[in-house]
């Protein structure tokens, strides 16, 4: 049964090539745009190198000190000493890593300046995150403790500074007039992954970070790894218990210190919204995204409905014959929906191909540094789901309209 529906659908597609082109063009471009947007989303907060275990990680990257009587608040990134004092001793997490945000430094190759984004990290950083090492190894906990001047580079910096990406282990790189020995080279990390991104990673003990600094604001962040994804709520509960106990810097002026440990998505949304409320704003954002997506799909769907209605009326004699031989409205609606979903799936496949081309163009244009936007199984599944949704959305009304045709009129080829 299904097979014959598909056969009919295929024949109909071949009959009026121009209409087929309009339908497929609309579907495939709509899906392509949605897929590219989804690929950006997945690229920013999905499980990718180095944050492969994203479902077990929590990120602590902002602190807020609110003033009494709603007199505003101070927001900012957190100091090293705050994280060492309050986050490091947490007991529920499996591992905790503290690092600085990357900052720009200058290295010189001959007379040419090379911008090197430098990030100071502890040894746990390499256990919590999974980098792809081209060669060498990360630095260990004991190397961090002893303040060894060792560094891990990304491929781009390695190529720019040494002219090669292999055989550089043991060589020295000098940036901001400090010399480090290279012990590892990793694949480039996309700039959108701002929690782990850098050109060069070195032990935090070689920086000027002071564990005894009384200030709460600085330029550091913490990544917390839970034992299992199910453990995250327990870790967050312990974290908020600890933060509730943190004394305010000045009891006369300040009301409370707010720090949150959120998933990659939640902390990224917080970061971009500059948000320090208990609600991380993910639900509101997702609601808006869903609304915009539906609105965006509405116009191509209306277009497809219009084209479909025209095409169905063209087939009125076929419908008349089927009705005269006893086909019910339900059967006809089902047949038409199957045909339409077949069409949208075809468009979906085309959309996937187009999306991969567009992503490749974005990657190779170098517009966003170090992006590696690719289609992966998650995006593929998303694309198929979207085309199903699209197919049903645009098929229901024409199918309903078709099933309403009177058999006698339909056989005459008339219009309703």
């Amino acid at each position: 049964m299904l097979l014959s529906y598909l056969k009919i659908a295929w024949k109909v597609l071949l009959r009026r090539k121009f209409f087929t082109f309009i339908s497929l063009f609309g579907i495939s471009f709509t899906l392509m745009i949605l897929l590219v947007v989804y690929a950006f989303y997945d690229h920013t907060v999905g499980p990718h190198t180095p944050e492969k275990k994203v479902d077990r990680l929590l990120f602590v990257n902002r602190a807020t000190v609110s003033y009494k009587e709603g007199n505003g608040s101070n927001n900012g990134t957190i100091s090293y000493s705050f994280l060492e004092r309050y986050v490091r001793p947490l007991r529920t997490p499996e591992k905790i890593s503290i690092s600085t945000y990357f900052s720009s430094t200058a290295a010189y190759v001959g007379n040419q300046k090379l911008d090197v984004d430098l990030k100071y990290t502890d040894g746990q950083f390499w256990q919590v995150l999974d980098f792809d090492f081209v060669e060498g190894r990360p630095y260990t906990l004991s190397e961090v403790q002893s303040g060894a001047h060792v560094a891990v580079l990304n491929e781009r910096t390695c190529r720019a500074y040494f002219g090669a990406t292999s055989g550089v282990l043991g060589k020295t790189i000098e940036t901001d007039r400090v010399r480090y020995q290279v012990i590892g080279v990793v694949k480039d990390v996309p700039g959108m992954r701002f929690n782990s991104y850098a050109d060069m990673w070195v032990p935090i003990s070689t920086s000027t970070q002071d564990a005894k600094d009384p200030g709460y604001f600085g330029d550091c962040m913490a990544i917390i790894q839970a034992r299992t994804p199910a453990d995250l709520p327990a870790v967050q509960a312990e974290f908020s218990r600890v933060v509730d106990q943190v004394p305010v810097p000045d009891p006369k002026k300040h009301a409370k210190v707010h720090v949150y440990a959120g998933t990659l998505l939640s902390s990224t949304v917080r970061w971009f919204n500059n948000n320090s409320k208990p609600d991380d704003g993910v639900a509101a954002l997702m609601g808006k995204v869903a609304l915009v997506t539906l609105l965006f799909m509405l116009l191509p769907a209306l277009n497809l409905i219009n084209v479909n209605v025209s095409r169905i009326l063209e087939r009125s004699s076929e419908i008349g014959v089927r009705k005269a031989f006893g086909a019910t409205s339900g059967t006809l609606i089902r047949q038409f929906l199957v045909e339409n979903v077949f069409l949208t799936l075809l468009g979906g496949v085309l959309g996937l191909v187009l999306a991969s081309v567009v992503l490749h163009i974005i990657d190779s244009s170098g517009f966003i540094p170090y992006t590696t936007l690719t289609l992966n199984p998650r995006i593929f599944a998303g694309g198929l789901l979207l085309s199903l949704l699209f197919g049903v959305l645009s098929g229901v009304y024409p199918a309903y309209k078709m099933s309403k045709l009177q058999a006698v009129q339909a056989l005459k080829g008339g219009r309703n």
């Binding site: 209409f19 609309g26 709509t30 010189y108 901001d176 116009l299 191509p300 209306l302 219009n306 517009f367």
Partner: protein, 397 residues
């Protein structure tokens, strides 16, 4: 004739409903995008207020030097850099340098009037560094050190907001915590530190203060400079500057970027979403045009009998095509009427915070575009209709 067309469309309102809906949505999409683009264009063509070419930004990190010594070191460094060949002028600044992603604002009041304003901090040489033009008064100088009230230079927008058309120079303004400032100068235009796509908003300059707050040593700032270099400056000067800064200050770390570089980054951030939106909308509109074309073509081929009859009783080809074109225009008008109703809510409810003339301009633009689009889509099908032979069409029936 036109009334007749309206009756024709009204009689087939159910069949035309979807077309009307499609035109309505296409109009709304074009209107929203048009408003954003027109507004951005208006901002882009407004004066920036300063020149950024040959200006370098130097961010420094005292690298653990005790806070008590930083101010003296910074002062010594500024004097030294002025003597470096290739450097024209040097002025200290805060983190909200031109095109940076950092901003700072305060509320000021003068008499009964008050305004929120961006607040910038600038050294005595900033007028030369950024080529700022003054309309009234003067820029800061070292005599301001001893002034009773800290001096301010304000932009035209700030002048309008605080003094309207009255005199401004010499007036006293207060912040919300009643700290008093005296205005010594007014810029010739606006000053838009966030770049070309910033709204024309009030901007106020205060004279650079010491890095460390004398009353509260926990409140301190990082040393930052803007430097105007000679047009011949190269990367060599940059390297030399980094070395000299380290030597003069005893190990401060330096990052040098140029304002044109910063501007490129800022532009990328502003243009990428705009370009993306324009591409997506372009695709949507193209898609609608294709669909419209298909549907009209089909509808006309369905009405061959009617056309044949009209031709047989004496209608000319051009009158036939005029009828079909007219019908499409009437359908478009219905869609646009709904669309304009919705578009009118935008300025009434203040949805996007854009000025009324921009809304009106984009309404006009979107209306014209939609009419042109539908006319193009209807042109070929209506010509097909005109070429129907009455004898053939009637025999088919």
């Amino acid at each position: 004739m036109i009334r007749h067309l309206f009756t024709l469309i009204w009689n087939r309102k159910r069949a035309n409903f979807l077309l009307v809906a499609e035109i309505f949505f296409a109009f709304v999409v074009l209107f929203v995008l048009g408003s954003l683009l027109v507004d951005s264009y208006r901002k882009y063509t407004a004066p920036l207020g300063y020149s950024y070419e040959y200006v370098w930004q130097v961010d420094m990190d005292p690298n653990g030097q005790p806070i008590s010594r930083q101010d003296a070191t910074f002062e010594r460094l500024i004097q030294h850099l002025k003597s470096v060949p290739g450097v024209r002028s040097v002025a200290s600044t805060r983190s909200n340098t031109p095109f940076s992603f950092s901003d700072s604002s305060t509320e000021f009041k003068a008499g009964s009037k008050s305004t929120g304003s961006d607040i910038y901090s600038a050294g005595d040489d900033m007028q030369d560094v950024l080529s700022l033009e003054l309309a009234e008064g003067r820029w800061f100088n070292r005599h301001d050190e001893a002034a009773a009230r800290p001096p301010l230079v304000i932009s035209q927008e700030a002048r309008q907001a605080l003094f309207a058309d009255g005199p401004a120079v010499g007036k006293i303004v207060r912040t919300m915590d009643d700290k008093e400032f005296q205005i010594v100068g007014v810029l010739a235009s606006s000053y838009r530190g966030r770049g070309e796509f910033q709204e024309l908003e009030p901007a106020i300059f205060q004279r650079s203060e010491s890095l460390v707050d004398p009353k509260d040593s926990a409140n301190f700032d990082r040393p930052r400079l803007l430097i105007r270099v000679q047009p011949t400056a190269t990367a060599e000067l940059e390297q030399r500057m980094t070395k000299e800064i380290a030597a003069v200050t005893g190990g401060w770390k330096t990052t040098v970027t140029t304002l044109p570089e910063q501007r490129t980054t800022r532009m990328k951030f502003a243009l990428a979403p705009m370009g993306g939106m324009a591409l997506v909308c372009g695709f949507l509109i193209f898609n609608v045009a294709l669909g419209l074309f298909g549907v009209l073509w089909y509808n006309i081929s369905q009405r061959r009998a009617e056309i044949g009859l009209r031709r047989a009783i004496g209608a000319t080809g051009s009158r036939i095509s005029a009828q079909f074109l007219g019908e499409v225009m009437v359908v478009t008008t219905f869609g646009l009427a709904f669309g304009l109703l919705v578009a009118a809510q935008f300025p009434l409810l203040g949805v996007m915070g854009i000025r009324l003339p921009v809304y009106l301009a984009s309404m006009g633009l979107a209306t014209v575009l939609i009419y042109v689009l539908t006319a193009i889509c209807a042109l070929y099908p209506s010509q097909l209709a005109a070429s129907v032979r009455p004898a053939v069409a009637l025999r088919e029936e």
